[in-house]
Amino acid sequence: MTFYTDPRIRFAARVLQYLAIQLALIYLSSHQALVTPSFIYQGF
């Protein structure tokens, strides 16, 4: 069985792939909601 066909490795790789996507989403959402308001008020 090769590295790519080992189901455990494939499983772990997919977990990491999804985790990376989720972490990116968490980071972006947290920034959008709590660091950079969707609209910057420029007046007084």
Partner: protein, 409 residues
């Protein structure tokens, strides 16, 4: 054939397991972040407390920790808190010269309706705690500014106020009426929008509709709180300056000599215009003020002050603070009297509308009030119609200091 990889009978099944595992790991990570972030924030409140931070204005975690800290007084306001100035309270008290620091919350143009949500979201952490709200009297002359609201709106705070348990439904209904005046910020939040519409609904089943939205709203709120924790951890991880201890430097506060130094600093910057504003500001906006001079009359002014939507928001804010059991002080800085009375030629009596209502609202809710009416005609107190000068900040700092030590008369 033995050398071929095994055939995938249903590829989606092979993604489901990893997706679920990664989701569980993410949730565990977020719960962990939500557990660690308050402790980490508490450990670094010396530096985080006096700072102006979007994470503080838009989130809840940092505000809550500041409200709970024994030696920090939260100060809610708007642009005066972020506009650099000598003697500004957050910097003046940063090293706790008299035993406490001030935690500013608010940004450019923060309207009272947003302050209400900021404070409401922190909720019961204010029980028995001192909190200060600084007003801009001149803001009461402006109509609802959509851009001011949108630029300071926090979805998390709004959701906590509406879906949380710190306020009763009758109060939430009144808040919802005001929040629905700004529907544009609700486009991305159908659950909150639905709940707000049910709250203001007069149909018999409004309550059922609200309770239907409640579990979804609470779930959203929880996700928002997790993201709040992530943003605080990220701030602390990325900015070492907020992890450094700020040693307390105790020193006697000689208010007379502080006022003299503020005057020495500010007078040369404001001595060359008829309104008593900062000269640079006057130079830039002089044409606008000239136009105002010809148009403003006592009756227009009085009717603007009376009809301001800010009275509703201030009333709700003070009622909310009372419900939370807070010990609030409302600071209304001196008016730019030289501008209103000498330059525009208005009668000082028109402002009695403002002071009467302010006194009525604060006394009805048990809030303390400092108005500085005796200083309205003093020169060099305003940099422009909205912002205190360094001289004025010394007056405000002194009042904050007296309030913190329970010696405010």
């Amino acid at each position: 054939m033995s050398g071929d990889p095994p055939r995938l009978t249903n590829p989606s099944v092979h993604h489901l397991g990893p997706a679920l595992v990664s989701l569980v790991l993410s949730v565990v990570g977020l719960v962990g972040a939500a557990g660690i972030a308050p402790r980490w924030a508490r450990a670094h409140l010396d530096a985080l407390g006096p700072a102006n931070l979007p994470q503080k204005n838009l989130g809840v975690l940092l505000q809550r920790e500041a409200a709970l800290a024994p030696a920090i007084i939260p100060l809610y306001g708007s642009s005066e808190l972020v506009r650099p100035s000598e003697f500004r309270a957050s910097e003046f008290f940063a090293q706790r010269p008299d035993g406490f620091a001030v935690s500013p919350v608010g940004g450019r143009g923060t309207p009272l309706l947003v302050t209400l949500q900021e404070i409401g979201a922190v909720g019961t952490a204010f029980a028995g705690r001192k909190v200060i709200v600084i007003l801009s009297p001149s803001e009461f002359l402006r109509a609802d500014a959509r851009s001011q609201y949108a630029g300071n709106y926090s979805r998390l705070q709004s959701e906590i106020v509406i879906f949380g348990s710190q306020f009763d439904l009758a109060f939430k209904r009144r808040v919802a009426q005001r929040l629905l005046r700004f529907p544009e910020v609700l486009d991305a939040d159908p659950v909150l929008r639905f709940a707000l519409h049910r709250l203001v609904d007069t149909a018999p089943l409004w309550r059922a509709g609200y309770y239907l939205a409640l579990p979804f709203g609470r779930l959203q709120t929880q996700v928002g709180r997790w993201l709040d924790a992530v943003s605080v951890l990220e701030l602390l991880a990325r900015q070492p300056s907020y992890r450094q201890a700020v040693p307390a430097v105790s020193q006697p506060l000689e208010w007379g000599s502080l006022a003299d130094s503020a005057m020495r600093v500010y007078r040369p910057r404001a001595a060359h215009n008829p309104a008593g504003f900062e000269d640079a500001h006057w130079k830039q906006f002089q044409p606008n003020y000239r136009t105002q001079r010809g148009r403003t009359t006592d009756s227009i002014f009085r009717s603007d002050l009376q009809g301001s939507p800010l009275w509703t928001d201030l009333g709700l804010l003070l009622e909310g603070l009372k419900d939370l059991g807070a010990e609030p002080l409302v600071l209304s800085p001196p008016l730019p009297g030289q501008y209103y009375f000498s330059y525009l030629g208005l009668s000082p009596s028109v402002w009695q509308v403002y002071y009467r209502r302010l006194r009525a609202l604060t006394s009805a809710t048990g809030a303390r009030l400092a108005t500085f009416e005796a200083n309205n005609l003093d020169p060099f107190l305003s940099r422009d119609p909205f912002h205190p000068s360094p001289v004025c900040w010394v007056l405000l700092d002194r009042t904050i200091d007296e309030f913190s030590h329970d010696i405010l008369h």
